[in-house]
């Protein structure tokens, strides 16, 4: 459970993304899929990045480690600061030395993210030997410790098994073991539990929490608002490639400042009671080549007004909160209650 008192960020940010813009080559020519994204990750805290498919959240995550498919996706502008290093401008060789060493990533489909042709021990050992120069025997020992650290039973036996011999949950734990093997400052988790069952999902998220206690900063990318609510400290909501709202989780959930956030919260089917009719957000997300000039949510926003036709920026509203809505001040949107 996050400690509500610790709202003020006491220590320096682990990673900051400023004004990130990413373009993609599509049938309709080159268009921006991510625009003007600002994000800050603090050590020991889990920041949730929410948004529906096509909102650009995964592309933002991949951009940090520059894993974008070069020819089609390209970082147009913006800085990604890890301490004083700008990862976006770093030469390829230096960036590669940082990946897995100071910034790591885990992915959504554990079943396909591990190389089926190698044993778990070899996979983890490879990262250790590449970054820490360990010899084969030391790497294997460290791998067993790591497997134990991420909660895999009988690690000495499991270290020699192949990925297909493990369950989905186990495979995700191996991926996390690989990612944190060298004690990185930042871990980016792109939908780590979406493909897993509810019970296993809870265990993995608790594991991430315990890793942050050692001082690591985590960016948790997901579309599941329940996961965000229960496991994240701060929240960033993206819509059609833009950040539309940020802030501490409980504050945003209680009083969302952007109509899209409110709409999302209402649409989540809760297990409490059955409603006559589910609240929906009408329409679909506008494709990148048909984006309106002003607020991108205007076509679907119940509170839309002429002012929304003008371009709107992400304003800081104090208390670590910010939102991109022209009418934010005058709206009083209904949250989900403390």
């Amino acid at each position: 459970m996050p400690d509500p008192a610790n709202t003020e960020p006491s220590n320096a940010p682990a990673l900051t993304i400023e004004g990130l813009r990413i373009s993609a080559a599509t049938e309709h020519g080159r268009v921006d899929v991510v625009d003007d994204v600002h994000l800050t990750l603090r050590p020991g805290r889990i920041t949730g990045l929410a948004g529906e498919s096509g909102s650009g959240k995964t592309v933002t995550g991949l951009a940090v480690l520059r894993l974008l498919a070069e020819p089609t996706l390209r970082v147009e502008s913006g800085r990604i600061l890890l301490g004083d290093l700008d990862l976006a401008r770093l030469p390829r060789g230096e960036l590669r030395a940082l990946r897995g060493r100071r910034v790591s990533m885990v992915f959504q489909e554990p079943m396909t993210s591990l190389d089926p042709a190698f044993t778990v021990g070899t996979l983890i050992g490879e990262v250790l030997r590449r970054h820490l120069g360990m010899d084969r025997r030391a790497a294997r020992e460290r791998a067993v410790e790591l497997l134990d650290r991420v909660g895999i039973p009988e690690p000495e036996k499991r270290v020699d098994s192949f990925p297909f011999q493990l369950s989905g949950g186990m495979q995700q734990r191996v991926l996390i073991a690989m990612a944190v093997a060298c004690g990185p400052d930042v871990l980016i988790a792109d939908e780590p539990t979406t493909a897993l069952d509810v019970t296993v999902q809870a265990q993995i998220l608790r594991l991430l929490r315990s890793l942050t206690d050692d001082g690591m900063a985590v960016l948790l990318v997901t579309h599941d608002l329940g996961v965000l609510a229960e496991h994240c400290d701060d929240l960033v909501v993206m819509y059609a490639g833009q950040v539309v709202e940020t802030g501490p989780v409980d504050d945003v959930l209680a009083a969302p400042a952007h109509p899209y956030t409110a709409g999302l919260l209402a649409a989540v089917p809760s297990t409490a009671r059955r409603v006559e009719r589910l609240a929906t957000i009408p329409g679909t997300v506008p494709p990148p080549h048909l984006l309106p000039a002003g607020c991108r949510f205007v076509a679907r926003c119940p509170h839309a007004a002429p002012v929304c036709e003008e371009p709107v920026t992400l304003e800081d509203a104090g208390g670590g909160r910010s939102r991109r809505c022209a009418r934010a001040a005058e709206l009083d949107l209904e949250g989900v209650g403390r």
Binding site: P282, G283, P286, P287, L290, A299
Partner: protein, 296 residues
């Protein structure tokens, strides 16, 4: 009664064209594939209009004017019997185009149904047909060709039927692999749940999804067919004199390499261009089958 109609973004204006028109529109936009298509269409015209285009009778020998270099009365020179090489090249187009088509046709006639059956049902039919394919592959195609040609007389059609038999295991393997991957697709279960008969499932749903890899393999084999015909004609099993295919011209020109080195160049180039055209057309067709197939 209906739910609120969501405001749909305006889709591409007008109904999308039929599959064939969209396929050709994409094919035309690829320079390489379109160039190849032009070359092949040109060759088909040459084959059909051979009598009009050929300057002389391809079989008229002139034993005095043998192995003439290009120029003078003969644009591409003459062969070892003094026949006009340009005319023989033009008439040769017929057999050179017909031969690979027969071979791939026969190969597909056997390979496609067998591949569908083996891929769709698996287990014993798959095991049996795969072993048969292995057996076919290890039979030297020369024995196959000579046996068929001997039984039904030497001619391009018979020889290429034999080549078709040798191609059928290759087509069988491609179709089987593709069918196996399609069989597990969800839309197959969906149609089965609707109540489609197995026959309809295969014909309507499996076959179109198997077309992409099949087309690529077919165009590759067309290239091989051209060379195979040349090889068999050389062994006397293919086309009978005085007709000639490009392959025969190449081989005969080649035997005179020291006498008249230029003789094998025209047919050699023609064959290379034809095979390049088949290959690039195949690649182009595969790429222009478009997104709707690649998802499968």
């Amino acid at each position: 009664m209906t739910t609120a109609t969501a405001a749909e973004p305006e889709l591409v204006s007008g109904p999308t064209a039929g599959p064939f028109r969209r396929f050709t529109r994409r094919l035309v936009r690829q320079p390489l594939a379109f160039g190849s298509l032009l070359v092949i269409v040109l060759l088909v015209i040459t084959a059909l209009a051979a009598p009009l285009l050929a300057p002389m009778d391809p079989n008229a020998t002139d034993l005095v004017a043998r192995n003439q270099p290009p120029g003078g009365g003969h644009l591409l020179g003459t062969d070892d019997l003094g026949r006009d090489l340009l005319s023989r090249l033009i008439y040769g187009t017929r057999i050179t185009l017909m031969a690979p088509l027969i071979a791939v046709g026969v190969g597909a006639l056997i390979g496609v149904p067998a591949g569908l059956i083996a891929g769709f049902w698996g287990r014993t039919p798959d095991w049996l047909l795969s072993r048969l394919a292995d057996a076919m592959l290890s039979l030297p195609s020369l024995v196959l060709a000579m046996a068929i040609v001997a039984a039904r007389g030497p001619s391009t059609v018979n020889a290429m039927t034999a080549v078709g038999l040798a191609f059928s295991p290759r087509i069988f393997r491609v179709v089987r692999g593709a069918t196996m991957s399609v069989r597990h697709e969800v839309f197959i279960d969906a149609s089965r749940a609707i109540g489609c008969t197995t026959k309809r499932l295969i014909a309507v749903h499996v076959l179109p999804n198997v077309a992409a890899p099949l087309i690529v393999q077919a165009t590759v084999l067309l290239g091989f067919g051209v060379l195979a015909e040349a090889g068999l004609s050389f062994l006397g099993v293919g086309v009978q004199p005085p007709e000639a295919s490009w392959g025969v011209l190449l081989r005969r020109g080649f035997d005179n390499l020291y006498m008249a080195p230029f003789q094998s160049i025209p047919s050699g180039l023609a064959i290379t261009v034809l095979i390049l055209a088949f290959q690039f057309l195949g690649d182009g067709m595969r790429d222009s089958l478009g997104k709707e197939l690649r998802r499968a």
